[in-house]
């Protein structure tokens, strides 16, 4: 499905990006993502994962269901997109640039909200990444509260 400009901008808000994948046995894995870009067709997202997160990378490579939730750390507005990803690949030069920019923005936001030293938050950041592209099959409001889980529509 194709998402609209507002949603595309939100998904790239330098907020918290978290990921769920599913193993062959149906057991889920949770991960953080370290960059998310809406591709020009607005029907796919490109997500950066910790290259050393073996369960998540294996699940993505197997083509099973993936869920990605983006949360604006200031407003807590959250949106979840779901689909089945393709295999992971090494980041391109553009991905590296985008990832560096995302992480700098996200860390600055966390430091501002949490009032913690940046070098402490930096400890969470992996040193190596892989990327995967996921077609956006479904979109949900995930903002905390009674409407969490409500489907959001596609571009008319």
């Amino acid at each position: 499905m194709e998402i609209d400009d507002e949603l595309a901008a939100f998904l790239q808000c330098e907020g918290s990006v978290i990921v769920a994948t599913v193993g062959a046995d149906g057991v889920p894995s949770a991960s953080r993502a370290w960059g998310l870009r809406v591709l020009p067709d607005r029907g796919h997202v490109r997500v950066q994962l910790d290259a050393a997160d073996a369960p998540a990378v294996a699940d993505v490579d197997a083509g099973r269901s993936v869920a990605v939730t983006v949360t604006d750390v200031f407003s807590l507005r959250s949106v979840q997109v779901k689909g089945h990803a393709s295999t992971t690949t090494r980041p391109t030069a553009a991905d590296v640039l985008h990832g560096d920019r995302y992480r700098a923005g996200f860390l600055a936001n966390i430091v501002e909200v949490e009032q913690v030293p940046e070098d402490l938050v930096l400890r969470l950041v992996p040193s190596d990444f892989v990327v995967f592209d996921m077609p956006i099959a479904e979109v949900f409001d995930q903002t905390p509260g009674p409407t969490a889980g409500a489907p959001l529509g596609a571009t008319p």
């Binding site: 949770a30 400890r123 969470l124």
Partner: protein
Amino acid sequence: MTASLRDLHLCFEGMIPAIIATASADGVANVTHLSKVHLVDDEHVALSNQFFSKTVRNLTENPYACVLVVDPTTYVEYRLDLRYERTERRGPVFDRLQRDVEAVAALTGMQGVFKLRSADVYRVVALERHAGPDARDPGA
């Protein structure tokens, strides 16, 4: 398990939101933040069931969940693999979670919106350091 749940007690203070991943019976993933994971004892944690309905629905179909928690003093992240065990609607665990939910609701001016329906108790079947210094050091 190289560390015990009680070693991670700071992760359960609610300073940094946790992350929970679940999956439906037909293998559809779901991921959301949790304001707090509650330590119950050496082998169990509890999650408040307010209205994270997709997570709850998934857990009725597939009892496994994966939670990431962060120590707010070190920013070391831990991965907990959980298996749903039981739901409590009264008793000390429920009362503790209810007090927390009410406190958060009062702080955010959302009394009446956030209401605890149950305390869901999970067995921690695996625990490992997931990110942070030495996360990939097998001796850590």
